[in-house]
């Protein structure tokens, strides 16, 4: 067992984990933050996407021990002081979710990318949003929502 510490949405956590415990299992089951979902556990669907020191990563493809000393952000950290993040708001306004299972992964993917590249081109945005799978929406409204939020987030 390994003792690790990280911050999740700014809050410090200390855990004792088995090396094989995946980061997503630690976030969900040890920290109780079940907003990050598990869709495939082999790195294809993107439902478990979180931000690791600001970069979108698949949390099913990392072990919790590897997150020692790192800053993690998940969907639960997007809302600030009762106000939804512009992306959350845009997902509602543009009907970018149906069942909502893939939504946290898409939100964190988009947050991570837009924070670094607020003026992302359409082509680059298509490439980025092709990273994750959605089975309900056909993606069209996800693109619209992210585009709308990008405009709001741009400085």
């Amino acid at each position: 067992m390994h003792d690790i510490a990280f911050t999740l949405n700014g809050r410090p956590w200390s855990l004792r984990v088995e090396p094989r415990r995946t980061l997503v299992d630690a976030i969900r089951d040890d920290c109780g933050a079940t907003g990050t979902h598990i869709g495939c556990e082999h790195g294809v669907c993107g439902a478990c996407t979180i931000l690791l020191d600001g970069e979108p990563v698949r949390s099913c493809l990392m072990f919790a021990v590897q997150a020692d000393g790192r800053a993690l952000r998940t969907v639960e950290g997007l809302e600030k002081d009762g106000a939804l993040h512009p992306l959350q708001r845009a997902f509602i306004d543009h009907h970018a979710l149906q069942c909502g299972f893939c939504t946290p992964g898409f939100l964190m993917l988009a947050v991570g990318v837009l924070e670094r590249t607020p003026n992302i081109s359409d082509e680059a945005l298509t490439d980025v949003l092709s990273s994750n799978l959605c089975r309900c929406t056909g993606y069209q409204n996800i693109v619209r929502a992210v585009r709308a939020a990008a405009e709001e987030m741009a400085p």
Binding site: E18, R20, R21, R28, D29, A33, T34, G35, T36, H37, I38, G39, C40, E41, H42, V44, C45, A47, T74, V75, E76, L78, E79, L84, Q88, F91, I92, D93, H95, L97, Q98, C99, G100, F101, C102, T103, P104, L107, T126, D127, L129, S130, S131, N132, L133, C134, R135, C136, T137, G138, Y139, Q140, N141, I142, V143
Partner: protein, 780 residues
């Protein structure tokens, strides 16, 4: 006012309402965008055990022995069960078939003497956590004597069990004099067409969490979906408990699409274990399991013949098809084959029809419904036939359809055939009118000119269309109870379920419109057997039609009660009053609130003097019944480009036109169309469960089972028509869940043929690059 008119059920006035028909934001979204949903894996109970299923790695064989000693010895393992431990539990029953004789083909919850597909549960492990459970499952050693596999449903049937062949039934339907029609035909067109095996594959895998609450003698099952009441009754029956001692709970469901919420072996196993081991038991399917364990769908081969007169008018269709059911007959019985047989004629005037659907078992994952079951397949088959007829008779494919589509004047159109046990009566529609609207919106003529120019420039491009008829609103009944509490909050309890489609918002909109309250103040309760006695769940595009109509009636009843009470309090006549935004007002002066619904509800409480001698509460339950289904319809148009060298097909432009009678929330209807299209696109070009010659599945990860990403999606345009409201329900609605998927394979196949300039080239789905490549010329 005559008696008859007074008794006629009220019908909602046509047109957009204050909230009904408006693209309002969904009630569901708040928790979901915050990561506060409650999906199956989010459910946890103290002291819970993790269940892991040991699955057959052999497609067909005699189960000689199972050695579980090493697994049992692993620290953290609480129990390991094989068939011997669950021999008292009957196999999974049917809920949706009238076909007799299917019982020998039911799936046991753990394999007994035989294994019949890779992925079949043969043992289960219960352990302290999911990691240990998987370690232990790996230690279970199965000795299986391999037997020959059946992988082709069109091959001669084999023996399933002594005395039972792998063809339990043939679904036959027939009307008219088919043989005479073929004898008299100007031309007969024959095709051999196949649809590949694919399925719903929701982003959330299945999950089941059971606990037995001894204090109340109640068994709870969480993580459920779709058919809670039926599943509750069956679980109770199979475990020998009264239904009141079993309750099913629905949290959030990460996509249904037909496959979620059926009763599977794992549901029974967690329930049984929670009782026997006296600890909560949690099972979460992993993705590799999902791809071999959850229902597959679609795989059929059709040998279809069409007889036409010299003008291209259909005289008869004679279809023989082979339905690949997989290894067992699950809860749906022969439903998909029945739907295929019943819905194949689609939108066309067809004087004579004969179909024989060979329902056959193979050594693959069992199959059942997937969004537009039996229709995705038969629309492909029927529209391929129509395209082939057009070619044979040298007719424009649109003109050919125009000649054969049932006209508005012929509605309602009775087809002497049944499906799902109810007669097919096409209730309403202006098929030709919608086709014309769709052609205009797509810019068909301009597209044709553009195609000519692009072909001249060397592009391999083409366009195609396909017409479809859907079915929705399967009865027979659904009930809704609406209550207003003393704060003015409205609770709507429905026997339906949510699979993420937005039913809470839709029902709230209908309730709000009828009742006169803000839809955001309505709490919709669904998928819970402890809150309403009966329910029929969410499937077959039935919720908006059935539960929506029940909601409308219940809301009107509550409104009437509220106005009666308010009239007493205000000493007014109820007919002079109305409800606006939760306030009772004078109809003549709607801006002036007289009394709040909250106050009316208080006055109707059990201790109120007003209620003395009456049943208290501002609450009403109403039921809606329907003998017939309602039939949405539409047309899909596709423009594709082919890379001649690789054979890659890209859809450049797409239109889904669909008449849904009335769109309760156009934003959500459009979402259904576009999302439905994406699934159809998967089935048309990408998704396929493949097997090798020994029955080993080859599509067991998301790297092999190819779900379209954003990059594969074209811009999809949607035409939502409300030209033909259904006469069968007070709202005029028809289901909107499946029309986006129905005709995708058919329309893309037509467009690919057109691009290749080879009519009839595409005879199977999915359309694979190497197949297309065989039809193209040398790379340029």
């Amino acid at each position: 006012m005559s008696k008859a008119v007074a008794d006629a059920p009220p019908r909602l006035a046509p047109g957009k309402g204050r909230v009904l028909g408006q693209p309002v934001a969904r009630l569901e979204d708040g928790p979901l965008v915050r990561g506060r949903g409650l999906f199956a894996a989010d459910v946890n109970f103290p002291r819970q055990l993790a269940m892991r299923v040991v699955r057959s790695q052999i497609a067909h064989g005699r189960l000689v022995s199972l050695d579980t000693a090493e697994a049992r010895a692993l620290p953290g393992v609480v129990a390991v069960w094989t068939a011997a431990e669950v021999s008292d539990i009957p196999p999974i029953p049917f809920r949706a078939t009238k076909v007799r004789g299917l019982e020998p083909y039911c799936q046991p919850i753990l394999a007994r003497e035989r294994v019949r597909y890779v992925g079949e549960p043969i043992a289960v492990v219960f352990a302290e956590d999911a990691y240990i459970a998987e370690d232990a499952a790996d230690l279970v050693v199965a000795e299986i004597d391999e037997l020959p596999v059946v992988l082709d449903a069109a091959a001669e049937p084999a023996e399933f069990l002594p005395g039972n062949s792998t063809e339990p039934t043939i679904v036959r339907k027939e009307y008219g004099d088919v043989d005479a029609a073929f004898r008299a035909a100007h031309a007969v067109i024959e095709l051999d067409l196949s649809v590949g095996r694919h399925s719903g594959v929701p982003m959330e895998t299945r999950g089941a969490i059971a606990r037995y609450v001894a204090a109340h003698d109640v068994l709870e099952l969480h993580g459920t979906a779709k058919k809670q009441h039926w599943n509750r009754d069956e679980i109770a029956r199979l475990l020998g408990r009264p239904p009141t001692g079993v309750h099913l709970f629905e949290g959030h469901v990460g996509g249904g699409f037909g496959v979620r919420g059926e009763l599977y072996p794992e549901d029974l196993l967690v329930c049984l274990a929670a009782m026997r081991l006296d600890r909560p038991v949690k099972w979460i399917e992993d993705r590799r399991e999902h791809l071999v364990a959850t229902n597959h769908s679609r795989q059929q081969r059709h040998l279809i013949r069409g007889a036409v007169d010299a003008d291209g008018r259909l005289l008869a269709i004679d279809d023989v098809f082979f339905h690949d059911q997989g290894a067992y007959v699950r809860t749906h019985g022969a439903r998909v084959a029945d739907l295929a047989a019943g819905m194949l004629p689609g939108p066309y005037r067809l004087p004579a029809y004969r179909v024989a659907g060979h329902f056959r078992l193979t050594n693959k994952t069992p199959a059942a419904t997937y969004r537009a079951p039996g229709r995705f397949e038969t629309t492909f088959v029927r529209e391929r036939l129509m395209d082939a007829i057009a070619v044979r008779l040298d007719l424009d494919p649109i003109e050919l359809r125009r000649r054969n589509l049932v006209t508005e004047a012929e509605m309602p159109h009775v087809r002497p055939v049944d499906t799902l046990g109810v007669d097919v009566v096409l209730d309403s529609g202006d098929y030709i009118g919608l086709m014309d609207q769709a052609l205009a919106q797509f810019g068909w003529d301009a597209v044709q000119r553009d195609l000519t120019a692009r072909r001249a420039a060397g592009d391999c491009v083409g366009a195609g269309l396909a017409f479809f008829v859907e079915k929705s609103g399967l009865g027979p009944s659904d009930g809704v109870r609406i209550s207003i509490d003393a704060t003015g909050g409205v609770e709507l309890v429905s026997g339906a379920a949510s699979v993420g489609q937005g039913m809470e918002t839709a029902l709230a909109q209908i309730c709000a419109e009828a009742l006169g309250v803000d839809y955001r103040r309505i709490r919709v309760v669904r998928g819970r057997t402890d809150r309403i006695e009966f329910g029929n769940g969410a499937h077959a595009s039935r919720v908006t039609v059935m539960s929506g109509s029940a909601t409308y009636h219940a809301a009107l009843a509550v409104r009437g009660m509220a106005l009666d009470t308010a009239a007493q309090l205000l000493q007014a006549r109820p007919e002079d009053l109305a409800i606006e935004d939760g306030q009772v007002v004078r109809a003549a002066a709607p801006g002036v609130p007289l009394i709040a619904l909250a106050e009316v509800a208080r006055q109707m409480g059990p201790n109120s003097p007003l209620m003395r001698g009456r049943t208290p509460g501002l609450t009403a339950e109403r039921w809606f019944y329907s003998e017939h289904m309602t039939y949405p319809y539409g047309v899909h148009l596709a423009l594709v480009r082919i890379d001649r060298a690789t054979g890659e097909v890209r859809v450049e432009k797409y239109l889904v036109a669909n008449d849904v009678g009335r769109a309760v929330n156009p934003m959500m209807v459009e979402g259904q169309m576009v999302g439905g299209f994406a699934q159809g696109l998967g089935g048309a070009l990408f998704e396929e469960f493949r097997y090798d010659e020994r029955g080993q599945p080859l599509s067991t990860t998301f790297a092999d089972y190819l779900i379209p990403t954003l990059s594969e999606m074209p811009a999809v345009d949607v035409l939502i028509a409300e030209d033909a409201p259904s006469p069968l329900n007070p709202l005029g609605v028809k289901g909107a869940g499946e029309g986006g998927t129905n005709a995708v394979g058919a329309a893309i196949a037509a467009a690919v043929d057109d691009a290749l300039r080879r009519p009839g080239a595409i005879v199977s789905l999915p359309i694979l690059p190497r197949t297309v490549r065989r039809h193209t010329e040398e790379p340029t």
